[in-house]
């Protein structure tokens, strides 16, 4: 896929949720199917898709919060299993996740000091473990995420901070374990537009300084263009397109990627107002498996073949692939 040191790799990972009775009546919900991705040191990969596309499930699989139904996740070449006692914590010291909602991901009854001291002590990054040492390290973490002076924030509580500041605390907490991989699940979508940029810049700086491999999950393909080196587009639990971010946004191949690009608010298009390429329909029902391409029911270019046979990967240009029959060279 790309050169560089692969830290975390997913190979054909699938996740099916079984809910015997009730909602899904036995069949199971195919949240993620055949998901393969490499996370490389000092690089940002964006995972883009709408609600229900499986991008958050993919993040939780990578974070070890869910065990895959099939497929393998390897960390620095070693197969990951988080079922053994203590394995979850060992894995968490390498791979950290930052969640979407900074209002619920911090515990309202504890100070910021507690939020940072706990991972420092649990993962053995607290130096001597003495109070002064923990405090100095916590303050340094806060300064690293531009909450300065760090000591001033230690005794505050989450409700005293703004959304942007809380998200910075979540990031500092993730850094406390000195991870190699950071999974950011919609880290800015709950924040004001004006605050988003600062958080994304911070994540970008940390990727370079801490030599992180970063996965940026978002429904906003425009921010992925600016922030990520590569973009993977997900639809209905499958990756449908992957390539360098500028290629994917400027010359999207998959009809779904084109839809995503066309839905971004763009004042430059406002001159020709009302010229919406309106795609109807809702995200697919993941409890049913379609024979062909999962996007076919919503796709304006769908052919008979699309409804019968799932498309393999086609790679019209180097490093940029798509799962869509429109790009079958032999056919054309």
């Amino acid at each position: 896929m790309s050169s560089g040191e692969v830290v975390l790799r997913a190979e054909s990972v699938s996740k099916t949720f079984r809910a015997g009775r009730g909602f899904f009546r036995g069949g199971g919900l195919h949240a993620v199917s055949g998901f393969s991705l490499d996370l490389v040191r000092e690089r940002v990969v964006a995972l883009v898709g709408e609600s229900g596309s499986g991008k958050s499930t993919a993040a939780r699989l990578l974070a070890g919060l869910y065990a895959p139904t099939s497929g393998a996740i390897t960390l620095a070449g070693r197969r990951v299993s988080v079922r053994a006692p203590g394995a979850r914590r060992r894995y968490a010291s390498h791979v950290q996740i930052v969640l979407q909602d900074p209002f619920s991901s911090l515990n309202a009854s504890y100070s910021i000091r507690h939020h940072l001291a706990r991972p420092l002590l649990l993962h053995g990054n607290a130096g001597s473990g003495k109070r002064a040492d923990v405090e100095a390290r916590s303050a340094a973490l806060l300064e690293e995420v531009s909450l300065t002076p760090g000591r001033d924030f230690l005794d505050r509580y989450p409700h005293e901070l703004s959304g942007g500041q809380r998200q910075r605390v979540s990031i500092a907490r993730a850094l406390a374990v000195r991870p190699e991989v950071m999974l950011a699940d919609e880290p800015v979508s709950m924040l004001d537009v004006s605050i988003r940029l600062g958080i994304l810049r911070l994540l970008g700086r940390l990727t370079a300084e801490r030599r992180l491999a970063l996965l940026y999950i978002t429904h906003d393909i425009a921010s992925a263009r600016y922030f990520a080196t590569e973009i993977a587009v997900m639809y209905a639990g499958e990756m449908v397109e992957y390539g360098p971010s500028e290629d994917v946004t400027q010359a999207p191949l998959h009809p779904y990627s084109r839809l995503l690009v066309s839905t971004v608010p763009d004042p430059d298009r406002a001159a020709g107002r009302g010229s919406d390429t309106l795609v109807r329909g809702e995200p697919p029902d993941l409890t049913r498996r379609l024979a062909g391409c999962t996007f076919a029911p919503r796709c304006p270019f769908a052919m008979d073949r699309c409804r019968q046979q799932a498309p393999p990967r086609f790679e019209p240009s180097g490093g940029h692939w798509v799962r869509c029959w429109l790009f079958d060279e032999q056919e054309a």
Binding site: S162, V193, F227, E282
Partner: protein, 343 residues
């Protein structure tokens, strides 16, 4: 043309005495029939308070401290919603002015089907309509926003986020209002769903001709949908302009900051500058222009003088004749005022 809604020097506060928080200070704007006016700004800038004040839905200690909210509804004498008695407000609310809240999940009653929630609204405001008549109107409303009328039997939790938000819009349109206030109607949705809901809204607005007050933190979205835009900062309107004028040439440094905060998916991959710092604490606003601590163009005067919202020149540099200027561009910034160095 006379304005449908005329807000003059509106002050809205929470609390009393020393703890008073001035959420909206001296806001003025007008809204004509069939017009879409957008209000943009960060969290805490007073944009939602402004909406709640107009709908007379301020919570807790919130109250209008001064100013007027003049409403000229259909064949009624203009009334001042800031001071009118509850009964007059009740007559205007929903049938003349309706509001769509941000979180459609929490705004609906979880134990009632869509059909009965919408039916209740019609029943309350039009008791003469019979059961059958109500059922017909509910079906029409749902179809209008793109929900099959059979789905009227569904409960809120059975619908996707986009469907729920569309059902909220159907609810707001139940009594054919002349003004619909939309408070962050698409913020909880992802971009694809947002696009669908917005297209739906624009179509309905063109068909039915209601006016819209659209409140959001996302200025890029407003430029696409609104006719005119108010930019709010720390409770005051800092710029008021036609949507495309504002996009092409934002005057206020804060408007400029908002417009350089969001990435664009098309065109050149331009550098994003954004706005440094964080939104101000309304309890401890700095002296002078409230934006000066975050402003790259701040001068010494900005720390002392509070700029008023006054008409300014057009982007092409030509001064506009009086009267027209107040409709096209007003800005509250010393850079554009006689004492400023830009003059």
């Amino acid at each position: 043309m006379t304005a449908l809604l005329e807000v003059r020097d509106l002050d809205v506060s929470y609390g009393h005495g020393e703890d008073t928080l001035h959420a909206v200070r001296g806001a003025s704007f007008s809204l004509r029939r069939g017009e879409i006016v957008g209000v943009a700004g960060e969290s805490g800038c007073g944009k939602s308070t402004l909406a709640f004040a107009i709908a007379r839905l301020l919570r807790g200690s919130g109250h209008v401290e001064g100013g007027e909210i003049l409403w000229s509804g259909r064949d009624r004498e203009p009334i001042d919603l800031a001071t009118a008695d509850d009964e007059s407000v009740r007559r205007v609310r929903w049938s003349d002015i309706s509001i769509v809240m941000q979180s459609a999940m929490n705004a609906m009653n979880p134990v009632l089907s869509l059909r009965s929630q919408i039916g209740d609204v019609i029943k309350a405001h039009d008791p003469a309509a019979g059961r059958r008549e109500r059922g017909r109107r509910v079906g029409e409303l749902l179809e209008m926003v793109g929900i099959p009328s059979a789905r009227g039997r569904a409960f809120p939790h059975e619908l996707s986020g986009g469907m729920r938000q569309r059902a909220m819009i159907a609810l707001a349109l139940a009594l054919s209002p002349q003004l619909v206030i939309l408070d962050e109607p698409t913020t909880a949705l992802d971009v694809v769903m947002q696009r669908q809901v917005l297209s739906e809204l624009k179509r309905l607005q063109a068909d039915l001709g209601f006016a819209v007050l659209f409140i959001t933190h996302d200025l890029s979205l407003l430029v696409e949908i609104a006719d005119r835009i108010l930019v709010m900062y720390a409770g005051t309107v800092v710029e008021r302009a036609d949507a495309l004028d504002l996009y092409r040439a934002p005057f206020h440094p804060y408007s400029r900051g908002l417009l350089t905060s969001f990435p664009k998916v098309t065109g050149v991959r331009a550098e994003l500058t954004g706005i440094p710092g964080t939104p101000p604490d309304l309890r401890g606003l700095p002296d002078g222009c409230p934006f000066h601590p975050r402003c790259a163009s701040a001068m010494d005067e900005c720390k002392r003088e509070t700029p008023a919202l006054v008409p300014r020149r057009r982007p092409d540099g030509e001064a506009t004749p009086d009267g027209e200027a107040t409709q096209s561009r007003d800005v509250a910034c010393l850079l554009y005022q006689p004492t400023g160095r830009a003059q």
